[in-house]
Assembly symmetry: C2
Amino acid sequence: MPSNRLAQQIAFIVEIDKLKQILRQTLLTNASRQENSAEHSWHIALMAIVLAEYAPAGVNLLHAVKLLLLHDLVEIDAGDTFCYDLSGNQSKAERELAAADRLFGLLPPDQGTELRSLWEEFEAQVTPEAKFAVALDRLQPILNNQQTGGASWKKHGIRADQVLWRMQPVQEGAPELWPLVEQIVADCVAAGYLQQASQAESVST
Amino acid sequence: MPSNRLAQQIAFIVEIDKLKQILRQTLLTNASRQENSAEHSWHIALMAIVLAEYAPAGVNLLHAVKLLLLHDLVEIDAGDTFCYDLSGNQSKAERELAAADRLFGLLPPDQGTELRSLWEEFEAQVTPEAKFAVALDRLQPILNNQQTGGASWKKHGIRADQVLWRMQPVQEGAPELWPLVEQIVADCVAAGYLQQASQAESVST
């Protein structure tokens, strides 16, 4: 019989399969369907490996990859909140804290505490690893939006100034990638995938 | 303008989104649909982190996670070959080599060589990291099969002796997890999720 410790770990591993059912607003690059949070997490973890050379000096890559692999787990209970949904984001913190209690509570206490602290570290965006991880989490959706002709931007009427505001963590967590972000946004505006902010709206932001 | 090097890396990152479209025989734990290879890769990478304490001494966890995150990329061109499909597995190696040429060839040459060698290392199952990674790649589907009442085993008429044969890398790459595998297989046979080998079939295997 496996130990109680291993049984708890396996229960957690089985439970997190549910992240594959959580849909995001981003579409796959072929626009066939919405992306789910598990495959999104895979994508950005592999991005961290491919783009490791642009991480600020001193970033521990394994630590950043851990943050990326588990940063969305709380969505199993709390759902994915669209980043431009202001009212949804007001209740997000409370829903996610309850989710963290339940999900990380499935693990042996020492490991539950450890993984929960990694999730809190990602959310706090203070350590270099968390800043780098958040930068990649922000970058991936604009790559997919570019491939789909701005599908989720158009659906929700998102403007270039909103995207650039949302991308600010790239400037802090992976500054060498910021010119890429500006280039993608400019290309998407030029291609008609993304609305330029109107004069009046620009003044108010 | 981003450098040519970064442009190649971004082209690779965009291309690998296609792994989200590659379907495996395994179902999600709620049996709602087939699992895809991207979310499968996420699941086993996070398993490596949760189950790291069962890795043989000296295993470098970041190295194992890298192997797990990219081990299925060649399926973008070569497709997923069901592990019990003997004829499909005969042509698998050739299809996957051509896929590796194309996909890793999208990257800057130094990085393409590095990531391709990681894929080759996983396939060769010689290093401790590759053995541990392969063990987790084998373990995850039996967890999902147990949750779905043996859905993909029943669909393809897979027997317990075939599963135990398929699970042998667990014995080598993560021996502390082998009793768990035996327990799951025994539980699944007892529950009627998995056929016991018949007397005649047992003799021939």
